[in-house]
Amino acid sequence: MSTKMSAIHDKIGQFPRELEDESIYIMREVAAQFERPALLFSGGKDSITLVRLAQKAFFPGKIPFPLVHIDTGHNFPETIEFRDWLAKETGAELIVRYVQDSIDQGKAKEESGKYASRNVLQTVTLLDTIEEFKFDACIGGARRDEEKARAKERIFSVRDDFGQWDAKRQRPELFDMLNGRISVGENVRVFPISNWTELDVWNYIKEEKMEIPSIYFAHQRQVIQRDGMLWADSDHLNKEADEIPFETTVRFRTVGDMTCTAAVSSHAVDIDVIIEEILSAEISERGARIDDKRSEAAMEKRKQQGYF
C-alpha cells in the first residue's frame, strides 16, 4: 500500500463526535430562540444530515419545525422520491414551494442558452416562502469548507428584509453563545454543520447507517461531455448539436439541480469506496458545481443577493 493510501485508511471511519454534540446544541438553540423556524431541505446529503441531527436533538419528541423544499422542477426524480420518504419516516411536516410558480407569476425569468439553470431563480421562491410562512430562522446545510466566502459565514447569519448577507454586519460569535435576536423583517440563516467537512459528513452517514438517495452511488446514466465535465442528460438541459449523449457509469458528489450538478466517473457502489474516492479525489466538491465556475467571486455575489 502506498503512503498516501495508508494515510487514507487511517482517516476512514473516524468521525469526531464533538461535531455532533455541537450541531445538536445549535438545533436546540434554534427551537428555543425562534418562533417560526424551518429546515431548508434540498435532498442532498448535507440536508439529510441536518434532518438526522434534528431528529436526535428533540428525541423522543418530534422535530419541532417543518422541512421546507424549494422545488426547481429540475431536481433529480430520485431526490424527490427520497424527500417524500424521509418526511414520512421522521414524521416531520413537509412544505414544498415551486420555482415554476414564481416563473408563472412573472417574479422570476427563465434563463436561456446552453448554460440555462434555475439555480439562481430559487432565491426568489425562497424569499417568497419565507415571507408566506413568516419564518424567522431557516436552517441550512452549508459548510465552511465548501468555498472561500462560506469560510467566514457565522452559525447564526442575520439577513435583512431582502435576504441579503453583509459580511461587515455579521455579529461576532464568541465561545458557543448564539445571539438570535432580530428586528421585525429580519431573519436568520442557521448553519449547524458549519464546522463539518465533506469527509465528516460521509463518515457520519456511514457511522449512523443513514439512508441517502441512490444517485450518490455509481449507476448507469446518459450524459454529455461539456467543459471537461459530465452533465446528466435530461429534458431540462439545453444541448448543442454536437453534444451527443452517451451512457456511462457515474455518481454524483453533490446533489443540486440536474442542470448545475456535474457527475463524476465512478464505480463506487458503497460508502467505504465513496470515502476512499473523496480522500484521494483530484477535484474538490464544489468544483463539480457548474454555477460556481461562472466567476471566482460567484458564491459571494450570490450570497449578497440572498442565495442560501
Binding site: 438553540e29 461576532p172 464568541l174 435576536r181
Partner: protein, 416 residues
Amino acid sequence: MDILRIATAGSVDDGKSTLIGRLLYETNSITKDKIEALESASKRKGLNFLDLSLLTDGLIAEREQGITIDVANIYFSTPTRKYIIADTPGHIEYTRNMVTGASNAKVSLILVDARQGIVEQTARHLSIASLLRIPKVIICVNKMDLVQYEESKFNEIQHKLSELVSKTTFQGQTVSYLPISSLFGQNITKKAVDMPWFNGNTLLGELETFEFAETLAQAPARFPVQFVVRPMTEAYHDYRGYAGKISSGTFKVGDEIRVLPTGQTSTIATIEKFENSLEQAIAGESIVMTLSNDIDISRGNSIVLASETKVPSLKDFSAHVCWLDHQALSPGKTYLLQHGIHVTKAKIIQITERLDVSQQTSETEVGQLNLNEIGKISLRAAQAISADKYAENPSNGSFILIDEFSNSTVGVGFVD
C-alpha cells in the same frame, strides 16, 4: 479522533496567510483543481511561484485591499487529529475579531517577522491569549530566509520574546518558539534543512503532540438547560427530559443535583443520547437528562451537583470585557447579558480600568470603553447568573453583552 482548534494572529505583512496555505499544501489538504486555480491566479499576479496566501484570502474586498478583514475558518486533518484554524486579522482595529477567533481556541499561533522582531501586535496577541486562558502559545519567527537562517538572529528575538512572555503568561500555559520560513516550507511540516542548528519540533509536530488534558471533565459539573423535551405522545405520556450541552464536569446517573437559581434538589434518573442510555456524560456532550421527581425547570436554569456547598450565583460582580461595537460602553447603560444560554438585563455600574494590552499597563479614570478596547467593569444583573470565575472554570465564566435596540453583540466579558 479529537479536534484541535487553533487561533492565528499576526500583523499585516508577516505572512500568516502564506503559513496557513503552506500547512494545507504540505498536509495534502488542497485538491488538484484548487492548486490549478492557484497557479493561474499566481501567474496573473506576475509571480513565478505559488502564492499560497491566495488560498485563504477570501472575500472580494480583501482581494482588492490585499488584507484579511474577518475571521475565516479553515479545516484540515491528519490521521491523528482534525484541525480548525480561526484565521484572524492582525490590524490594531480588529482586536474584536482576534478575541472572537481565539474564544474557542486551545492553541494560539503568533507570527513574528524575523527582520522586525517584536512589534506592538506581538504583545497584544500574547495578552489576549492570556486573557482568554489559552493553554498553548506557539510563536513562529517567520521569514527566516530573509535573515539568512541565522541562529543568532532567532536567539536574539527569542530572548526578547521570553521577557515579554514572562509578563503575560499564567500557570498552566506553555509557550514554544519556532524559527520558520512559510514561503520555502522550512520547519512547517518538515525539518528545516537550512536551519540544522534548530533541534525543536516542526510546527505540525508541535500541534500533533500537544495534549490538552481533559481538565474540563474534572471541572465543577455545570449543565445549563437549553430545552425541555415533552413529547406528550401516548408512548411518552409523562416524559419530561432536560436537553442541553454539559459545559463542564461530569454527571452520573444517581447523582443528587440542585437546580439554580431555584435551589430545588432531585436525583438523575437517566442520561440519554438519542436512543442510547448512558451511565455518565462529560463536558461537551449534548444530552437529555431525566430526574426522579417532577420539579419545575425551565430554559436558562442550571443543574449542578447537590454536594457542592458553594453554588455559583452572581448579581453584583466585576469582569474584564473586550468591547466589540462602534458605540462605546459607558457607565449607567443597560444591556442584555447572555451567559451561556441564559439572558438577563444588566446595568454597567462603573468602568474601573482600561488596559493597554500592548504596553501591559492600565489606567483607572475611565469614562468609556471604545471599540477594540479591553477594560475592567463592575455590573449588576437583574437576575443572578450561575457563572464561575473565568480563570477557574473558563467554560462557565464568560458572557456576551447585547444591545437591546440594535440586537448586536457588543461586548464579551470574563468574570473576575
